[in-house]
């Protein structure tokens, strides 16, 4: 079983829809939860991060973490064609320094397409 599972999609929704992207994980030591966005022919870039459980909002984007269920979500409100990209969830157990214990584990990514 992979440490992080993510539905690869593709997911296609009309412009203006609410999008829900999800990941599940198995390692209860994870404390940092990130969402990266990757446009075609580009490297991933950090979109949002959350520490431990709870919600975090940034404009049209909301990240949600439920540690009891080992489940994280990214919601996109009023989706735009410019949101079309691959979204990767990522997780880390450690916050300082970089070691094997703190490495970031990435999901395989969900390809999202917003239809005009």
């Amino acid at each position: 079983q992979k440490e992080v599972e993510q539905d690869p999609g593709p997911l296609s929704v009309p412009e203006g829809a609410i999008v829900s992207l999800n990941c599940t994980y198995s390692n209860s030591a994870f404390q940092y939860f990130m969402w990266y966005r990757q446009y075609s022919r580009k490297g991933p870039e950090l979109l949002m991060y959350t520490y431990s459980s709870g919600n975090k909002e940034d404009g049209r984007f909301t990240a949600q973490v439920d540690k009891s269920s080992k489940y994280i979500s990214l919601f996109i409100r009023d989706s735009q064609p410019s949101d079309s990209a691959t979204y990767l969830c990522a997780m880390s157990a450690h916050d300082k320094g970089y070691s094997s214990a703190s490495k970031i584990i990435f999901g395989s990514g969900t390809r999202l397409s917003i239809r005009p």
Partner: protein, 115 residues
């Protein structure tokens, strides 16, 4: 603005060739990483380095080596390229031991095809 650059966007090599992929970052980051990205498998860590001349194996180091002689530069070497190393290779960097390391800055990637 952080910039991570990779030496080539596209590369075609023959089986058995020695391949060098170079990565340069301009933010004085301590940590640098090499990943490969394959459909359905996501990003898999090959090697990382947290200091000059320091390196640690990631999840899939077999068939690869790395070199970090200068802080800003991290090279990935395929000693004898094989067709199963055809992939997208992504370099990333991040701040070091005294800062939060959840944010990695990625280069645009090198799509390597081995024939």
């Amino acid at each position: 603005d952080v910039k991570v650059t990779q030496s080539s966007r596209y590369l075609v090599k023959r089986t058995g060739e020695k391949v060098f992929l170079e990565c340069v970052q301009d933010m004085d980051h301590e940590n640098m990483f090499w990943y490969r990205q394959d459909p359905g498998l996501g990003l898999r860590l090959i090697y990382f380095s947290y200091d000059v001349k320091m390196k640690e194996k990631g999840d899939i180091p077999e068939g690869y080596s790395v070199s970090r002689e200068k802080k800003e530069r991290f090279s990935l070497i395929l000693e004898s390229a094989s067709t199963n190393q055809t992939s997208m290779y992504l370099c990333a960097s991040s701040y070091g031991r005294t800062r939060l390391t959840y944010e990695q800055y990625f280069g645009p990637g090198t799509r390597l095809t081995v024939t």
